[in-house]
């Protein structure tokens, strides 16, 4: 029964997915609305079920291929939230046309299922399959704007980066398997402790793994797909992908790093499996480069979606700081940031989609003066971006503080300085965006008066409030979120 309770959310997701697919092939006429409702109901049920099942964790299922523990459940919550929010975002904007909404819902549902599975996967094969599952769906989603050449290009770029990184990951995994003769991550660790590998092969395996990780979270050196894919994909999809793919990467990295590689060894400064390999040094270079590249690119962008995508790259750099320290403080900080990011990132992309509907483009030049046409929306957009970048007064700021603090604590002061510098640059990028949004506000108002889009106004405001309220609650009740993250970490299996 306990096993069933813990995988029940995934079962709900799968059933909803089946219903949506059946609805798509059987019904005609007024069906899309129903599909949206079904999807949301299913996601809500899964979310509630996940929250309820926290008390039953941890457990290992399916011959130890899946471990449902605090970390898996935490990620499940944010994936389901992201899926739900992006479904609503698509319903409130026009970029995903109504006849394609069923398809979209099905893909999002399947993605959230895949990501939830990945979060618990603790077996090489399972990890690899789930990653493929996530990325194939991501590929479809990125290419779902079929009429737009940009979307097709995004899909192709995604395909290329993904195939390279998955091939490399597969090499790494097969090397691990041939050394340990088992697929289970925990067993691999045991085997590697008993029969240590040579330094060269360990370095090779670790680097292959790291390479796949940098693709998945969109950090240096494999960050190049992020701006292209997020720009080309339909905007609600960009919102889902920008969060989902990276968070999936973090869920896999946290488990993989903690279980296989980076248990601290008995001698300080060494690791049980990796020995004296200075992997934090490598990771810190990656983080520094990601932070600088992301924020420098963000300052120079001329398109809104690309700008946000570059900020997303920077965020990956910040989140990797949590993996660098790899203790409870760091990982709790990653959790906190991800919780904040679900709302701020999806909110920002939703509003970009809305502005794109209004203006027909996401070039900053075309968005000039959008504030006069949509006052509340533009203000929300700036607030979400401020939150994403981690500037006060939004809760994202506390998250950045937690991450940078955790690296300072371990003596990476230089890295924290780079972090501050990249935050300044990101702030400048957001200010530049706001500058375009404000545009000639006063002249426009004096000429035309304050016009705003009545269509769907109420639904949009309610949705935006439902994104903002959690952010305020997260800000005020930060301690509760951190406690929750801490509790999730206690019931972890490693």
């Amino acid at each position: 029964m306990r096993e069933f309770t813990l995988i029940f959310p995934m079962i709900i997701l799968a059933l909803t997915l089946a219903m949506v697919v059946v609805a798509e092939i059987t019904y005609h006429g007024e069906r899309t609305r129903m599909v949206g409702a079904i999807t949301l109901t299913g996601l809500l049920a899964a979310l509630i079920q996940t929250l309820l099942s926290f008390q039953f964790a941890p457990i290992e299922l399916f011959d130890r291929a899946l471990s449902v523990d605090g970390v898996a459940l935490f990620f499940q919550v944010v994936f389901i939230l992201a899926a739900g929010l992006s479904v609503v975002a698509a319903m409130l904007t026009q970029e995903v046309p109504e006849e394609k909404r069923t398809e979209y819902c099905a893909l999002i549902l399947a993605s959230s299922l895949a990501m939830s599975l990945l979060a618990g996967a603790s077996d090489l094969l399972m990890v690899f399959l789930c990653l493929q599952f996530v990325n194939i769906l991501g590929l479809f989603l990125a290419g779902s704007g079929k009429d737009s050449p940009l979307s097709a290009e995004a899909s192709i770029k995604y395909l290329m980066f993904w195939s390279v990184s998955s091939a490399l990951l597969l090499y790494g995994m097969s090397a691990l398997f041939s050394a340990a003769h088992t697929l289970n991550l925990h067993d691999i660790q045991m085997a590697l402790i008993q029969h240590p590998l040579g330094r060269e092969s360990l370095v090779a395996i670790f680097c292959l793994f790291l390479f796949a990780l940098t693709f998945q979270v969109g950090s240096f050196p494999m960050y190049l797909w992020v701006p292209d894919v997020l720009e080309g994909a339909p905007t609600p999809v960009s919102g889902f992908l920008s969060f989902g793919i990276r968070a999936a990467g973090f869920s896999f990295a946290i488990r993989f790093l903690n279980v296989v590689f980076a248990q601290r060894g008995k001698v300080p400064g060494t690791w049980e499996v990796l020995g004296p390999l200075e992997w934090p040094q490598i990771l810190s270079w990656i983080i520094g480069a990601t932070l600088l590249i992301g924020s420098l690119l963000a300052v120079r962008q001329t398109r809104a979606k690309r700008l946000v995508a570059c900020l997303v790259v920077t965020q990956s750099g910040f989140l990797l700081m949590g993996l660098l320290v790899l203790n409870h403080v760091g990982i709790a900080a990653v959790f906190y940031n991800l919780t904040v990011e679900v709302f701020s990132l999806l909110g920002a992309f939703f509003l970009l989609a809305f502005l794109r509907d209004q203006v027909g483009s996401d070039r900053l030049e075309d968005l000039r003066g959008a504030l006069a046409r949509a006052v509340p929306e533009c203000i929300y957009l700036v607030l979400f971006l401020v939150c994403l970048v981690g500037l006060p007064p939004m809760p994202g700021f506390l998250g950045k503080f937690a991450l940078m603090g955790s690296v300072v604590q371990q003596g990476w002061t230089g890295l924290a300085l780079i972090g501050v510098f990249s935050q300044i640059l990101s702030a400048a990028a957001v200010a530049r965006f706001a500058y375009y949004l404000v545009g000639d506000f006063r002249t426009t108002i004096e000429r035309d008066g304050l016009s705003h889009n009545r269509e769907g106004f109420r639904a949009r405001q309610i949705f935006l409030l439902s994104l903002t309220l959690p952010l305020i609650i997260i800000g005020v009740g930060s301690q509760a979120i951190l406690n929750w993250a801490g509790k999730a970490l206690q019931t972890i299996l490693w």
Binding site: G411, T413, G414, F421, A428, V438, I445, L482
Partner: protein, 509 residues
Amino acid sequence: MTQHLITFMIVLPLIGALFQALLPQSREVDASRGGVSRWVALAASVGSSLFTVALLFSMNSQSPDLQNVEILPWVGSYAISYELGVDGLNVLLVLLVGLIFPLLIAEEWEQKVGSRGMHGLFLLLQSAFVGALCAQDLFLQFFFWSLSSLPFYFLVSIWGGKGRETAAFRLAVASSLGNALLFAALVLIYYSVDPHSFSIRELAGGKLGGKVFPLFGQELPVHSVAFGLICASLALRAPIWPLHGWFTETAEEASPSVFVALSAVSVPVATYIFIRLGYSLFPETIVTAAGAIVVVGAINLVMGGICALGQTSLSSLMAFICLSQVGLMLIGIGSLNSAGVVGAVYQQLSLGLGLAGFGLFSGLIAERTGQSNFISNDGTSRLGGVATQAPMIALVAGVVVASLLGFPGLGGFVSGALLTLGSYSVSPAVVLLIVGSLLLSTYYLFNMYRSVFLGPISAEGNGRFPELNLREKAYFVPILGGLVAFGVYPKPWLDLVKPTILTLLSTLK
């Protein structure tokens, strides 16, 4: 009720701002019907000020300690708490915030474009400044202090003049750079003490002395690096020569009321944070750096004065007056004796009021004549003769100018005298410098006064110049009343300030 006075002062404007966002949209374009929202804004602002008055009455002037303290744990994992309190150092500024913001809302009473937005942002600023002043937790203080930089961007970029967007962008970049540096200092301080703490109370008294941190393989002392970061960050929020470019550009572009909020409130608050953090967290460093602070102050004083000579518009003249007076304050802060520091604290109040008055009457003149340049480039007067048509405005402006010049009987005199006294112990040369800059400011301020208010009515002005109406009279009353009250009978105010300053100074030696 009385335990939560400060919280009320912070929350009330926030509620008012929320109302500005929620009240129906259609009313604001038509100013005659926009009544509800602006009354709500004024009520929220005045309500907060009334709590300030209650706070003042509840203060015990004998005690150097924090009063009306509120402590509430916020994020326990990072030792962040919601800790508020007032003592002699910040009480006058809290009063200043409470005095000025209702006036600004009254000044923008008939704003045609997006009045709700503007009033809402002013309310947001009011609560951010009260929060930044009263917060006794570094994190909370930083939270409010950086919250205060966001509204300025919108206030300048929407309601500014022709070059408003560039000015707002520069302002935003300067203040976010300043905030980031402060944030870096914060992280450094937090992690250098054990157990980690943000509480100013716990960090005070030289706890940071002797701590080091590694950076790129070198050991650096925490206290001097953090102090340097804090100085740099505040120099980007208060105008310090030569980092003042954003400030003077904002002066040119922002509407007068917004620039009053920036120069008369934000700048004094920045110097307050400097005193608070400098004296309580870095007692050793500030003694070492005192000389440098005085030098920076002196440069500011002189450069501000010299640049003010060449200004042709009222708003940029105001910016350079502010620059020069901030220099005077810094000299007081660096003098490390009670007269100088008390003078600097008192100067925050009197300068704030003086600049508010200056900004408001220059706003009136700009609004009525459509220009703020009082002298054209060839040196001929463009305005003039205002005094004959609107004697009340001339009177108000006269009092404000006199206070800025430090005439006896007005607020500026008390602080100016104290600062001069305090600076004597540093070096008699500084006194000479202060006197010299006073002569300079007498020249440029009288020059301005002569060409705007006296002399023949200029041909360029449109000839008619309406007198103050009731609303305008109403918002000059608190300013003039304050200037006179703080100048004629400064004792109760100085008594509030002194104990805290003396205690702080006693920790230095």
